[in-house]
């Protein structure tokens, strides 16, 4: 029993400020967002026009990573920070390659979760859970998670474009240790993270504006992102900019992959961590 109310306890829905999930939806061209989000989104786009590419290429990485994991035999996924469902959701991608794949979607944004629930209604292999990744206990013990995932079989843990919403004070490396611990051997971690190693000006302008949202952003260097993979063995090609991660066609790669602004990688848990 908890006595204190930690700051990650489900927040009251805050509609006066833009949220990460709805901003991301806006950048992907979706229409599940509100005027506060669009207003901030437009300002971000003015100072950081590359943000549309950040989002689109990140989303494409997510898709390739899921396909890769399915090809490696993974049939169950835990998608933390899943956002508002848009076309190309994890379960659609996975189930297209292999019907029957199971997915638990987790987000701490109640509106994103409400949206997921609506879209997922009636799909027995998929569930949406409202939880905060900073509370692994609650997240992993949620009845939805427990019902759908079998922790004796490899799991695909997706943490795509979420860690940058955790400030250093949240100690993301420690959190990762906790998640790694519960994952069975042969499980995978797919992770991406915004960086200011390239297009630094645009990224810092973006960070500045995101302060106004419910989800301020922390950027990390390549080395810092790499520490999040501790206990996982990075698969080829390692930690790279999103378009460089196993591109499906040479045309998808242009001369400046670093303009994608986001590092991405997939690691495998191969020994007891």
């Amino acid at each position: 029993m908890r006595v204190n109310r930690p700051d990650w306890a489900p927040r009251d829905v805050d509609m006066d400020r833009a949220s990460a999930a709805r901003l991301y939806d806006f950048f992907l061209g979706g229409s599940f967002n509100f005027e506060v989000d669009r207003e901030l989104g437009r300002r971000v786009a003015t100072v950081a026009p590359a943000v549309f590419d950040f989002a689109r290429l990140n989303r494409a990485f997510l898709r390739r990573a899921v396909r890769f994991l399915v090809s490696q035999g993974v049939t169950q996924f835990l998608d933390i920070g899943s956002g508002i469902p848009t076309a190309g959701n994890v379960h659609e991608v996975a189930q297209r390659v292999r019907p029957g794949c199971r997915v638990v979607y987790v987000d701490n944004d109640p509106v994103a979760v409400a949206h997921s629930e609506v879209l997922l209604a009636g799909n027995p292999h998929v569930v949406a859970v409202q939880a905060d990744m900073r509370d692994p206990g609650a997240l992993l013990n949620d009845p939805g998670t427990a019902r759908l995932l079998d922790f004796s079989e490899p799991i695909g843990l997706l943490m795509v474009a979420v860690h940058h919403f955790l400030p250093p004070a949240d100690e993301p490396e420690r959190l990762m240790a906790r998640y790694r611990e519960v994952l069975p051997l042969g499980s995978y971690l797919a992770l991406s993270h915004i960086t200011s190693d390239a297009v630094a000006e645009q990224v810092s302008a973006l960070v500045e504006l995101y302060r106004e949202s419910t989800h301020p952003v922390t950027v990390r260097s390549k080395a810092e992102v790499a520490t999040l993979f501790e206990g996982f063995e990075l698969v080829q090609p390692g930690l790279v900019f999103t378009p460089q991660w196993r591109p499906e066609s040479p045309e998808d790669l242009d001369e400046h992959p670093e303009h994608a602004g986001v590092y991405a990688g997939v690691g495998r848990k191969s020994a007891l961590g």
């Binding site: 229409s31 989002a55 396909r67 848009t86 190309g88 409400a114 499906e248 066609s249």
Partner: protein, 721 residues
Amino acid sequence: MADEQEPSARDHEQGGALDPGLAEFARLWTGAVITTSNVPLSRKELRGILTGFAEVLAESLRRADPEAVTEIGRGLVAAQLVGPHALDATLRVVGRSLPAAAGLPQCPETTNQVIDLLGALSAGYMDALREHIFGQQETMKKAVFRARDAAERALRASERRFRTLFSESVVGIAIGDIQGHIVSSNLALQEMLGYSADELRQRTAYDLMPAQDAEDMAKAYRKLINGTYTSLRSEQRMIRGDGEPIWVHIAVTLIRDENGLADYPVVMIEDITDLHLLQERWRHQTLHDPLTGLLNRALFLSKTETAIGGLAPGERVGLAVFGVDGFGVVNGALSDEVGNRVLKTIADRLRGTVDEDTGLLARINGDRFGMLVLRSSARGVVEVAERALKRISEPIAAEGRQLSLTASVGIVERPADRAEPTELLRDAEMALGWAKLEGKAQWALYEEDRGGPERRALELATQLPQALVDGQLSLEYEPLGKLSDRTLAGVEARLTWEHPELGVLGPEEFLAAAERTGQVGVLGRWVVREAAEQAAAWAEEFGERAPVVCIGLPNRQSCDQDLIRQLMSVVDQTGVRPELLQLEVDQSVVRDRDGEPLEALSVMVDNGFRVVVSGVGAGGSGPLALAGLPVHGIKLASGFVATLGDGDKPDPTAERAIGTAVSLAHLAELTVHAAGVDREQHAATLRELGVDVGQGQHFGPPALPFEVEPMITSGTVDPEW
């Protein structure tokens, strides 16, 4: 990574039967659309899908059968190509590259088929896109209610959440009572309909719809209440507070109480007027006149061209334009319905007089109908026209009365090898003018030397060479100002002729004739040289501040092979920097007969000149027309600007049309100029729409070089003297 091969793409690769031209086309298409959407597919998968589509498109193009193409339009939406530019990009690629990829010859026939195909493609796309939007609306709605539901457990937070969703949604939302009264409405709805919340409370939803739509809606709503329908959607018109109709999607959900009885309706309304307009425009550009089912003007012209092209040497064509006498009176005195009835009847009667094999019919505009007669003789055409006039004058029954109307007709008839469709139409319309002058129910045959003002223009044209020598011609410079702050953005060279007998003449009085007589070449060269010299002189004197000088190239000259050579020699001789010269090419000639951009455009750009397409909006130029031209900017025609009207508020349709043109241009990173900005009001509207530069009375009249100089010094069009 062999394990990641996608089945669809692999099929095509191994099938190997695919024609290389089509494969390349599919590759281009994929590249063009993949970044327009958050496509949840790999490039290969998308290419696999588009390859399949390309085969269907190519096949229907070869068979000239656009029907199957509608499905492809829907397929694009199914493939999630729903980003704001996906359709544009597709139309562009298909329009440009499909014919060659399908192995079709470049000819007007092909062009027609491509137009039909693009029309069908976008119709299918729009249709499916609407459904797609509907789906999203529905989800949004459910999420709204779910959010509220969930919140009923934590009431306060949820009430606030619901209210925020309600008040911030872009979709209009109304909550009603069972009778259809509007109990509460959100801001989006109030703005969409132009009523305040209070005003809406005093109305039922039906009060806001045209009678027919209201009746249909009421019927459907009753079925919703008694349970026959579980949900209700409709696409229809509503009438705004200011009387302006808009197109909307409506979705009605009935909230039931614990006992399952109808409690109250929630209505979501989305304004789709723009979508509708876009589709209408395509339909209009590509298909027939919706009222009469006849060809429209654009299609008539292109079919006329094809038909003439198929004639043997020595054969002749005739073209007649019919105009209903006093139609404005009929329409004004009676109702629009009667007017439409009349037009339909006339269309039917005209159909009865032409032979399907040798003639074409079209509604040119308003009450004007065109008729093409192939392998004609002057006598033959006149006979057909007289027969048609007689049929038209038979009484027409409309709304319980018998109307007696007459029509007049202008006729042109000439050998096929001298017949150019737009000229034929123009001459026939001129002849129609003469016929009307002679009284009702007349016909007149076009005669070359009868165009009064025409003849004067021709005479002037012949005097031009001497006038040049005598120094009667000079250039004035019309200031161009930035709309944002009236900074001087350049000047446009304007030819004037101080005629010894006729006084000062503007170019509009003699330029068109000069084009026809071929004088324009000499004149154009003179203008280019004179303007370049002035630009060079200003550059010398004012350095960096020197203004760009715009030169409107006469149409003939734009296509002229010599143009480039001449421009370069002027640059050489005057030492002017090419970027100080802005060359303006009229939109009607920026593409060659095959729809390819004039080669001259890119050569001019490559040589450092600024190039702008002028006359935009003056007709014909749909969204495709300007796409992908290698130019720096566009200039809206003064006629287009004038459509904003004289009122305090700009005409909304014109505003939307201009806004669309501006955003398309800005998308393509083109600067947008506007000509004919005479009114403060127009300047304000254009500024808001994002137009960059304006010219016209609002920025001052054409001026002599010494009057321009203070503007250069002060950097604005309002110099301190």
